[in-house]
Amino acid sequence: MKLSEVKEILNADVIVGEDKLDIDVKTAFGADLMSDVLAFAKAGSMLLTGLTNTQVVRIANVMDIAAIILVRGKKPPAEAVAMAKDFHIPILTTKYILFETAGRLYAKGIIGCLEKVESGSERT
């Protein structure tokens, strides 16, 4: 699916990366805990999150995240926007909550970057 289609499905605003809406995305990971993003997110996935600070953008960079989708209508601070431009990471923002965002994307064919954690690595 093109990122432009994600934008349509989520009725999202593009904050960074208007020129990157033709990239292809297949998978996503949703979390507000960055340690879980580090542990589980896969390269090329979208990151669905309600956190907006610069850590989210740096982590998106090290994990090769294709695009950051901010949920619950969150708007990133100026430093995070500048950093995302530097790193060429698109940021979209949608008013849908995380559950709705994930559900709407899943219904259109986006899947999780992993289905479940391996046994033995259950989180508390």
Binding site: S35, A39, N53, R58, I59, E79, T124
Partner: protein, 151 residues
Amino acid sequence: MNPVVNEPEKTFNKYSFDVEGGNFNTAGTVSMRIKSILKQNGLPDDVVRKSAIVSYEAEINIVSYAKKGTISLTITSSDVEIQVSDEGPGIPDIEQAMEQGYSTASQQIREMGFGAGMGLHNIKSYSDKFDISSEVNKGTFLKMIIGHKNS
């Protein structure tokens, strides 16, 4: 043809980076450097990913708890080795600190999306070899090895 010799482990490259305690504006930049160095060195994607994960969590720990610290990266013919040392409060009970969910993080750290007691656990689970030692009121030392020979 040259005879095959068993050469001792060679160090190809060694880097060292300073990390400033308490500064969340720069937290993560060293790990980004480490990731790009490993990529430039042509290491496989999963090795780069594991190294970035362990380094990022360790860097966040320095920023969150210590006055300052150093992260060093050594790339050998078989391993990526990341050593982290900090000047900080140290960890009184390492076993407890390693438990998932145990955390002494401040509200500020939690607001950044960390401090849920997963850091050391993630570091250990993504390292092939992990060592930790700590001295209260002095600091903490971590050593992580990620093998790349047969990957």
